[in-house]
Symmetry: C2
Amino acid sequence: MPFVDLTRAASHGAALTPRSGPVKRSGRLAVRAFRTEQREFLVEGPQGVREALAPPADGRVGPCLEVYASRAATDRHDDLRRAAADAAVAWTVVDDDVIAVLSDTVTPQGLVARCRFVDTSLAALLRRSPRLVAICADVRDPGNAGTVIRCADAAGADGVVLAGSSVDPYNPKTVRASVGSVFHLGLSMTPDVAEAVAAARAAGLSVLAADATADLDLDAADDTQLLELPTAWLFGNEAWGLPDTVRRLADRVVNVPIHGRAESLNLATAAALCLYASARSQRRAPG
Amino acid sequence: MPFVDLTRAASHGAALTPRSGPVKRSGRLAVRAFRTEQREFLVEGPQGVREALAPPADGRVGPCLEVYASRAATDRHDDLRRAAADAAVAWTVVDDDVIAVLSDTVTPQGLVARCRFVDTSLAALLRRSPRLVAICADVRDPGNAGTVIRCADAAGADGVVLAGSSVDPYNPKTVRASVGSVFHLGLSMTPDVAEAVAAARAAGLSVLAADATADLDLDAADDTQLLELPTAWLFGNEAWGLPDTVRRLADRVVNVPIHGRAESLNLATAAALCLYASARSQRRAPG
């Protein structure tokens, strides 16, 4: 099995260092242009690496190409080492300074997986007859996008579309904030928000835009059975929301009610409330 | 009105510098021990300063003691300068290096308010016959605690209790994550979680613990009218949840359902879903 110890102490001349070619190439995946060129990204930490190594439900080859692990992480996560062996994924033990090159965090947890891209085309995502999809329009903050992906997964959504000028799902902060959920649901990227909305509608989804200025609130929408329909929720940028032109593309615009005096909710929380309201309503609907 | 320009350019010998006594004293409020001793804290950014300056509903003197502002922020936020004047709060224009001493952020927005503590005793909070309260048990992450406060405010909760070894609500990151909501609802701190639960129950609140291991899920709880009751929600630490001893204190333990394959939800999102479910149920209840 491809288990190799390439720490300086164990491997003498063959050790990987921060200056080794493979390490430098992997480290460059922190930059979007290199990711896009290679169609590969990095996943950090035990939970993310676990999800990267999980056998895909469809029996296909999983996304994980290689795991870099510190000696300490290798000792601590024997389950992951076995999962890598089962998936025929190389596990390379490296020194901490190598992990530091690959890590986006201040205190790395000693585990980084190099993975193939997992997104699909919007057409492919919509062909699977999804009942619940989140479309992020120009969501720029990597942590927010990752948290939306995690919440969408938790709510049982079938996919997340990162549309317009949204951050890409392979940004290290997005991957980390998703806590493995990038591997769980359909992910698509598309530069044109209007096209994404049109495609969702053509696939039979009701398009609901979440917007604080809407007259219809989420609880009232629930009362009208609107949320029972297969739905694509449209979420806007964290700072400026949805532009008029995009909001007008939706079938309905819905606000999450602010019952107290808070000025607003953050994007991921509002998304969670919308997606869970749809999930509850769809699950309760007769049939 | 107490508007003074103490930048080096404007005030010559009287300028405030990072080494001036009042600046150093205010800067120390970043440390909990100094905050506790002074019973004062700092609020950063326009939204937080706006809420600090808003006249309290009960006609009492507001919490804001003083605003430090850069020249640029003073020019940009004339509305806040007028709010400070209306509230008879001193507005001091200072150089950017003074703001940097007072700011917790990498890119300060040029506005920092020094405020009096706004928390009340648990007894006082419960005397107001609250219908919805969040009790944080050992919530340590400052950003999470602030986001819970913001979500609780949005859901119309009457108060948030930071119990056990929870972070204090005046931590700069907590204040920032609350986006002004620390000024909107009742805040209490209490070292003993069991005491907080007992007091909530004695005040007529049903105590619901949010816990991923519970048999009863939030949607099912909603079906039983359980959520219509005046409720104190008990939320545990972000990493290890609620210890058995604390969970057992609750009337019921409720989980937020994970419909997809996400491993969990983050604390603030779970709290938002629970609090909004209660708000919806209470608002729909007859009478």
